[in-house]
């Protein structure tokens, strides 16, 4: 009964969504506000309807309705309640329901805004958001239905279907398979929602961009309306990516945070084009230039969001066969192709009105440097896109698959990331419109000095790797330029208003949140870059089989094996946990507990490292293997990951900067 109710609500939501899109089009074609209003109300209703659908799915999961195939696949009796709740997005069908629910929430939030000034955008925003929602709901209802149940046929077969086949009986398993153990981690609880929030938020600027193209209002109004949406989308996507990195570091047990896996790259690609868009729209706002380019970027970002959603859960790109066998793979591609072609066609129709109004006065002006920034981001996107998709192409053409490991990505993208760091050091001190070598040099030499001194310090510390030295120089350059920019702002405020340093910092940031929030984001990025350089250039590792009392040595640290214990837990897993002691120069620093959890329900092991984290380095110990009966000898892998904590610290700074940039500026604050 509850299952039927959930499915009925899904179908009802699809009907309402289709109605909203059609009513909006009818309203525009007849120029009838009543139809548009009706479409608006219909799109508002999708949110409560999908909330009920989500509630039904959660009810089924938490009450153990294992006759439902999705519930059986992602939950089990042994799972605690909080994990059962996260099982909503633990599988493909639930993820798509969750995505649709967020989409409905965001489109409803847009519908609630004041539309007086932008009435002509309203119907087209409804059409775009609702068509996106129709696609996802269609996927859920026809291909990835979370309400499909198990049925036993008279022939004794078990089949999965929404409605009972003739003569069949409902099959109710006593227990489910349980959530994939890799997903049973605090990071994974909030990682997918954050990523999906980021994905879904980018639909809103895209909807406004298309509305601008269709209505011909191609000025920067759509950009001003969606500025905060875009920042929010970027913020969520960034948090999602960082949580994914942390999850990989804590759970996957290979000593790193980013494996250049297609699923990771699928989430990175819209972030790359979205970041390019965030920078590029500033040129349009300030100078009325590059409107065509901004349109292209947001169209690309939207389609990459759809692509990312599809790739994250489906895994169909793993082989041609998987793609061909997947029902949703070709449909996703068709939808991406259709939306891309239609959007580009609309853009070409408005090509003339999207021409730049301004003129470039200088090759070193900030707008030119922003363009170079866009080129580098697009370059990164091209490399990533090629790396993810080429294996499929290779398999189709030659019948042989190829692998793109971290080595390839680091070589292909390293110089581009370096170029972006360099631009982060130059662009903030270049001026809009006119910037010459002379003016730039005058502003540049002061922050350049500390960065050169920092290089001296790095070399004096014994670092000789050219890539790392260049990386540290760029980090020092961006840091000193950012601090210098803050200092200039503080000094000018103090001079004109007599404020002290703290007041000046506060007011400066409050008055121009986007700019100074952006600088804080830059600081976050360079802290993260420190962690990346630390682990990529200086990671050390060793592995060995030890008996209790024996040690492994890595970079001056001694990691001693003390003991190992093995036991079964109430939530259905077997735990093997070692006690390791980390010491340096004879001084005991910390005990670590690397362990291996084996989940009986899914028959999957999970490696959880023992980590001693400091700002200098992490000692990361993995229990690789052990002799189950004696538990005497065990094999451990020990990593020393220098500076990696700066990656997490930088992420927090970056998120804080983003929140400052997103935070609305009160009128009285802006006026001060």
């Amino acid at each position: 009964m509850t299952v039927d109710l959930g499915f009925g609500l899904l179908v009802l939501t699809l009907i309402v969504t289709v109605y909203a899109a059609v009513a909006a089009i009818v309203g525009v074609s007849r120029n009838d506000a009543r139809w548009v209003n009706s479409a608006r109300l219909a799109s508002l209703i999708t949110f409560p309807l999908l909330t009920l659908v989500v509630a039904v799915v959660l009810y089924l999961i938490t009450t153990g309705h294992y006759e439902v195939s999705y519930v059986y696949a992602v939950s089990s009796n042994a799972m605690p309640l909080y994990l059962k709740l996260t099982a909503l997005w633990g599988g493909q069908a639930g993820s798509l329901v969750f995505w649709s629910w967020l989409m409905a929430a965001f489109s409803s939030a847009v519908m609630l805004r004041k539309w007086e000034r932008d009435r002509e955008f309203l119907p087209w925003v409804i059409v775009v958001t609702m068509i996106t929602l129709i696609f996802f709901l269609g996927m859920v209802i026809f291909f990835e239905n979370p309400f499909v149940r198990f049925w036993g046929t008279p022939m004794g077969n078990r089949i999965e279907a929404m409605f009972p086949p003739l003569g069949s009986e409902l099959l109710v398993p006593n227990d489910g398979r349980g959530l994939n153990p890799l997903l049973r981690h605090p990071g994974m609880i909030i990682h997918p929602p954050m990523l999906y929030l980021g994905f879904v938020s980018f639909v809103i600027p895209f909807a406004f961009a298309l509305a601008a193209l269709i209505t011909g209002r191609t000025d920067d109004r759509w950009i001003r309306i969606t500025r905060r949406w875009t920042l929010v989308a970027w913020l969520f996507l960034t948090i999602g990516l960082v949580l994914g990195m942390r999850w990989a570091y804590d759970v996957l047990g290979w000593g790193g945070y980013w494996g250049w896996d297609p699923v990771e790259i699928a989430a990175l690609m819209p972030w790359l084009t979205g970041t390019a868009f965030l920078h590029s729209v500033m040129i349009q706002e300030k100078r009325g230039m590059f409107k065509q380019w901004n349109m292209l970027l947001i169209i690309l970002t939207y389609d990459l969001v759809i692509y990312g959603t599809f790739l994250t859960r489906s895994g169909v790109l793993s082989s041609v066969h998987a793609f061909a066998q997947s029902a949703i793979g070709p449909l996703f591609f068709a939808f991406i192709a259709l939306t891309f072609v239609v959007s580009i066609w609309l853009m070409l129709l408005r090509w003339k009105s999207l021409r730049s109004e301004g003129q470039l006065h200088s090759l070193l002006s900030r707008e030119t440097l922003f363009l170079v920034n866009n080129l580098l981001f697009l370059g990164l996107f091209i490399e990533c896109f090629w790396g993810v998709n080429f294996p499929l192409l290779s398999e189709i053409v030659t019948g042989q698959k190829v692998t793109f490991g971290p080595e390839w990505y680091i070589r292909a993208t390293g110089p581009l990331w370096g170029g972006l760091l360099l631009l982060m050091g130059i662009a903030p001190i270049s001026a809009w419109q006119i910037s010459t070598m002379k003016t730039l040099g005058r502003a540049f030499w002061k922050p350049l000095i500390p960065s050169v001194l920092a290089v001296g310090a790095v070399v004096a510390l014994g670092i000789r790797q050219v890539g790392a030295v260049i990386g540290f120089w760029l980090i020092a350059l961006v840091a000193s330029v950012t601090i210098y920019e803050y200092w200039r702002g503080i000094r000018s405020r103090s001079r004109s208003t007599g404020e002290n340093v703290f007041q000046a910092v506060w007011r400066l940031t409050a008055k121009n949140r986007r700019r100074y929030g952006g600088y804080i984001i830059h600081l976050g990025i360079i802290f993260m870059a420190m962690g990346v350089i630390g682990i990529e250039a200086f990671q050390q590792q060793t592995q060995g089989a030890l008996t209790p009392g024996q040690s492994l040595e890595v970079a001056g640290y001694t990691v001693t094996y003390k003991s190992l214990a093995e036991w079964d837990t109430a939530d259905g897993k077997n735990v093997a946990r070692a006690v390791m002691e980390v010491s340096r120069d004879g001084k005991v620093l910390q005990e670590l507990y690397p362990r291996r959890d084996y989940y009986y329900d899914s028959q999957q092991p999970m490696t959880i490292p023992g980590v001693r984290a400091t700002m200098e380095d992490d000692i990361y110990v993995i229990l690789v293997d052990w002799e189950p009966i004696s538990t005497r000898q065990a094999t451990f892998k020990v990593f020393r990951n220098p500076l990696v904590s700066w990656l997490w610290f930088g992420s927090i700074i970056l998120i804080l900067g983003s929140i400052i940039a997103v935070w609305p500026t009160p009128e009285r604050e802006a006026a001060r």
Partner: protein
Amino acid sequence: MNKHKILRLFGLLAVLAGFVFTGTAQAQDQVPLVVTDDMVNQVASQLYCPVCENISLDVCPTQACEQWRSLIREKLEAGWSADQIKEYFAAQYGDRVLPQPPNRGLNRLVYILPRVMIIAGALLLAWIVMKLRARKPSSVPTEAAPQSSTEYLTRVEEELNKRKGE
């Protein structure tokens, strides 16, 4: 020749003799190499699991990968180099076990196309910049713009303060 020089000469000869004899002894004995886990992992990290997706052999937990690591150990003990082992695995399981596509045949596109696209993008950007610079100005700034909005802000605030004072 004094005593010290003679001693030094003998010392030098002894060292040279040591090198020669050690080399000969190593060549004659063929003692099996002691292969550590680190040496195995060093090679395994440059190979990818032929079964699992995007997981290098040094971290893959499956039984098959454990056997492949043992195979790497055997090969290393037999005196194979890392490149020979990589070639062996590629011949056995295909190019997908290599960490990046070998630069031949269709795979050349992997290395050429993105670079060509980025260079084309840079040229396009240069063309756009030149075109926009050559365009008749819609609004030419009459004087050099301030270096940054901070300076502009300062100027505005100074002007405001002056007027307040007037």
